[in-house]
């Protein structure tokens, strides 16, 4: 049986755009780990081409597709403009529909997707995590079917951030000073459950910059995790619900619908990237296609919007060295690199430092780190080393997944004496990070919030 059916197979014309130059290889996290062709974008495209040519969707082929983090660094690197993002998305939904996964694998995926796209379920997880009682955690994950997946469980435990008290944001926040824009705000799943402070900071910064902020309570998951995993019909359902949430009565203004929003602001890179593609995701749905495209056009990453609007709120000095980490779905997925750096540089006394190999993914990649704990650990530690090598006091990024992943890796490096993390002999430069590690972590929004409010550096990280 041929690998793909007629329902959106990877497109031959997009595959043929690849000239096999290999410029994508050094930016691919799995190639960086293993140095094997079939775990590189070029190799995966070749496998897709084989699939179109009649090769079956074998276990090994699926494995190589599954191993792709979907970081899209290759899309940035490609001089020929190959749309690997479209290719892998089309391939993944074929895999999900057509490839019978082993029971174990199916159970794990079902469990993950029964949990993560649901902020309320994630919030339930907060209790046990906050207390950090292993028994409690085990009880919970036992219910969700995770217990048999020890490496994934260990990864989840290691990822859990230190939690602060949940903050319940109002549905409408008035602008400070004259209103410059009406913006909807996505609170996200992981962001709202684990990083409520980031949402609070985002809302405050937007208000300080003259935005009226609308935060409908009915909003759920944007579907990013599902779409990246090839669960396209699930993703579509999430997308429709979110479009509804940002329309009409749900906005709290009976006379408003999403067309009256100037912008929909997102502070999580993965979510923003996925929202911007709603138009394509729902293109086949006559009831939603037009609304989806209209909403996508209004989506902005927080940093993008703030640069577009220009600052009105005065910044107070924040004397701190900052290493800025490009979240893949912000840098590669949305092409947003300059804006967050510009916003950070505009803060008096803040010194911005670049991280080596900035294009390389930290290994978080949605739920990839849960499905592939060991390589995710290696990638995380490699990134952590590069981050620590900057000597910065604070790591800033714009995605909750990256924050958790790098924080966990930094903790591991800190606790491990001696360097035996990857077994991979690395290029010089990797070796410079050593013990005695300590670095604060913050979202771009929190740094801006602290500067605008004149908080001390200690308030961060």
């Amino acid at each position: 049986m041929a690998a793909f059916d007629d329902d959106h197979p990877p497109r031959a014309d997009l595959i043929n755009d690849c000239v096999h130059c290999g410029f994508c290889l050094p930016t691919c996290p799995t190639y960086a780990l293993w140095g094997e062709e079939m775990d590189s974008p070029r190799g995966r495209i070749h496998l897709m081409s084989q699939g179109l040519g009649g090769e079956p969707l074998s276990d090994s082929m699926v494995t190589h597709f599954d191993r792709c983090l979907g970081c899209l660094a290759c899309v940035t690197a490609c001089p020929s403009g190959v749309r690997y993002d479209t290719l892998i998305a089309d391939t993944r939904q074929q895999v999900e529909r057509r490839h019978p996964r082993p029971l174990r694998d199916r159970a794990l995926r079902a469990a993950i997707f029964a949990l993560f796209p649901y902020p309320r379920r994630l919030r339930l997880l907060r209790g046990p995590l906050r207390a950090y009682q292993a028994s409690g955690l085990r009880r919970l994950v036992g219910r969700t079917g995770l217990a048999r997946h020890a490496p994934t469980l260990a990864m989840m435990e290691s990822l859990a951030p230190t939690l602060s008290r949940p903050v319940r944001l109002p549905e409408r926040i008035p602008p400070r000073g004259p209103r410059r824009a009406v913006v909807g705000m996505l609170t996200g799943c992981v962001q709202s459950a684990f990083f409520p402070d980031v949402n609070a900071a985002t809302a405050r910064v937007l208000a300080a910059e003259g935005c009226e902020v609308l935060i409908p309570r009915t909003q759920g998951c944007c579907g990013a995790l599902s779409v990246h995993a090839g669960r396209r019909s699930e993703a579509r359902a999430f997308a429709r619900a979110l479009i509804d949430a940002f329309s009409g009565g749900d906005l709290g203004h009976r006379d408003l619908d999403h067309r009256d929003l100037d912008y929909l602001v997102v502070n999580a890179a993965g979510c923003g990237s996925s929202l911007k593609e709603y138009g394509e995701l729902l293109a086949d749905d006559p009831a939603y296609a037009e609304r989806a495209a209209a909403l996508s056009a209004r989506v902005r990453d927080l940093s993008e919007l703030l640069v577009e609007l220009g600052p009105v709120a005065p910044r107070h000095p924040l004397p701190v060295t900052v290493a800025y980490h490009d979240a893949c779905h912000l840098a590669h997925g949305q092409g947003v690199r300059a804006q967050p750096r510009a916003l950070l540089r505009a803060i008096p006394d803040l010194e911005l430092r670049e991280i080596a190999d900035p294009e390389l993914c930290c290994g978080s990649a949605g739920v990839w780190n849960l499905l592939n704990p060991e390589p995710a650990r290696q990638l995380g530690e490699r990134k952590a080393r590069d981050v620590l090598a900057t000597g910065a006091r604070l790591l800033v990024t714009a995605n909750p997944g990256c924050l958790m992943q790098i924080a966990a890796a930094v903790r591991r490096l800190g606790s491990a004496t001696g360097d035996s993390t990857t077994g991979r002999c690395s290029a010089a430069g990797d070796s410079s990070a050593t013990g005695g590690v300590a670095i604060g972590l913050a979202h771009t929004a929190q740094v801006l919030d602290a500067s605008i409010r004149g908080l001390p550096v200690d308030a961060l990280g």
Binding site: E36, Q50, A428
Partner: protein
């Protein structure tokens, strides 16, 4: 022997060899799955495809030697591959052979700035050497356009050049030692950290031998002090003739720039589409001229270069204000090959060399070739050393275009030979140009070159079918089986 029985025999031999290699490398590092093997069927030149019988990933020189020894014992050919970015099919696998991928041998073993040396494994990426050496104030000078991904082992095999080899020379001038696995499976050191090792310069013969003399397992390279100053300008001209005249004027003035690169209008269009490099609008050609070295020397010469560009008709000159702007100048140039994919469904990257002074004539003739064959040709080249990279654009889906593009591409090589140049300046001969070698060299020339092959690899197991159109039979080798050579038996080779 029928074709069928030969295949059956070789399948058995491969099966036995695979088992042997799995004991050497472990199961994970020997690939025999058909789909996985197929991802290795081509390198950066995708029009030649051969699926290897096995792919293996050694991690050490000893493992690499063990693999080669096993191949030699089984009489199975082997091909080395680094990052698979070569543009002449040099790493094209052998259908009944083993593809030895060095990509996982990627440790920088030592950085010794005080010795101006680095010792690296063959899979180390070119740019990684520079990145590693930069904090100490040094870099690795050869910079092929694929430097972000091409491996040092591949650079050694191909004697890779790059934009800056005008001033700094090629890989062969920057490699002072190698450890190689000979086609017999022995580890041998050639050269080292010091220059002028006694005896024949086998190192000089090995670099650029395209994997036909063995596999480099460790490479000692020169590190060059980072220049005090780098100044780069981008000059826009109406025509390639004017840009060519400026190039000649600069060289004629006794200036040796680090690089002089030229792109014509079509190449500029492609680069703009790909990387938005924002070159001056309406340019028929741009030159990128880079000077580096001591500040006072560079300043004095940069003024002269700028003047010579203006004197020869540059209508706009931009001077890179900082590293970011310099990177943008180069980005257009370095992405140009792959960028052509944005303006044409298919294309052939040609690589030929002419004497620099013939540039205007040859460009005119290339224009004529394009018109005659009904194809578009974009020109990107290292103008300083006359290394042309014409990109012949075509659409494989359109009837007959591919054949016309191939013919135009071949005609360009003839032109290079006619003007006393070479059929390859840096991409190598590989499988792609082996057939052109007799147009540049006589049978005696090729026979003499192959004496070296016979010394290293009398059985022709190391990357067979590359460089030379016809393998030379090396005569009887002491201690080896007697009788007709298998190539001779198969009617592939003749006895000289």
């Amino acid at each position: 022997m029928t074709a069928t029985s030969m295949t059956a025999t070789s399948t058995t031999a491969i099966g036995t060899l695979a088992a042997r290699l799995r004991t050497v490398l472990g199961t994970d590092r020997v690939i025999s799955d058909r789909q996985e093997l197929r991802t290795y069927e081509c390198d950066g030149l995708a029009q030649y495809r051969v699926v290897p019988a096995l792919v293996v990933f050694p991690h050490t020189a000893a493992e690499c030697a063990a693999v080669v020894k096993a191949c030699a014992a089984a009489g199975v050919p082997f091909v080395a591959r680094g990052s698979g970015t070569g543009l002449s099919g040099g790493a094209l696998p052998h259908a009944d052979g083993v593809l030895i991928v060095t990509a996982q041998m990627r440790r920088i073993l030592e950085l010794a700035p005080a010795d101006e040396r680095a010792v690296v494994e063959p899979g180390v990426i070119n740019l990684q050497v520079t990145r590693a050496a930069t904090p100490a104030g040094y870099y690795y000078a050869p910079d092929p356009s694929s430097q972000q991904i091409c491996s040092i082992g591949g650079n050694v095999a191909e004697n890779s050049g790059g934009a800056h080899c005008l001033k700094y020379g090629f890989t062969t001038n920057h490699v002072t030692g190698v450890e190689i696995v000979t086609p017999d499976g022995d580890l041998v050191r050639l050269g080292g950290r010091a220059p002028d090792a006694p005896g024949y310069d086998l190192l000089g013969a090995f670099v650029g031998s395209e994997g036909t003399l063995g596999i480099a397992t460790e490479v000692t390279v020169r590190l060059v002090r980072l220049p005090e100053t780098v100044r780069t300008l981008l000059a826009a001209f109406d025509t390639t003739d004017a840009a060519g005249a400026a190039t000649s004027a600069i060289i004629g003035a006794g200036v040796v720039p680090a690089a002089i690169e030229m792109m014509d209008a079509l190449a500029i269009e492609a680069a703009e589409a790909a990387v938005h490099c924002d070159y001056p609008a309406g340019a028929g050609a741009v030159l990128i001229v880079e000077l580096d070295g001591p500040a006072a020397d560079v300043e004095a010469q940069f003024v002269a270069v700028e003047r010579l560009c203006r004197d020869n008709g540059a209508f706009e000159i931009r001077i890179a204000a900082d590293d970011a702007e310099r990177a943008l100048f180069w980005k257009g140039r370095k992405s140009a090959f792959a960028a052509v994919g944005r303006i044409s469904p298919d294309y052939i990257v040609q690589d030929g060399v002419i004497p620099r002074t013939a540039l205007p004539d040859v460009l005119r003739r290339i224009g004529e070739i394009a018109a005659e064959h009904g194809v578009r040709i974009a020109n990107v080249f290292h103008a300083g050393d006359g290394n042309l990279h014409p990109l012949v654009l075509f659409d494989d889906a359109a009837d007959g275009q591919a054949a016309r593009a191939e013919a135009a591409s071949g005609a360009i090589l003839d032109l290079c030979i006619e003007y006393g140049g070479s059929i390859t300046g840096e991409h190598g001969v590989g499988v792609d140009k082996a057939k052109h070698m007799p147009r540049m060299f006589t049978a005696d020339d090729l026979d003499t070159m192959q004496l070296v092959r016979c010394a290293f690899d009398p059985r022709g197991l190391s990357n067979p079918g590359k460089v030379f159109p016809t393998p030379r039979l090396c005569g009887e080798v002491p201690g080896r089986h007697k009788g007709a050579h298998p190539l001779q038996e198969a009617g592939v080779a003749e006895v000289f």
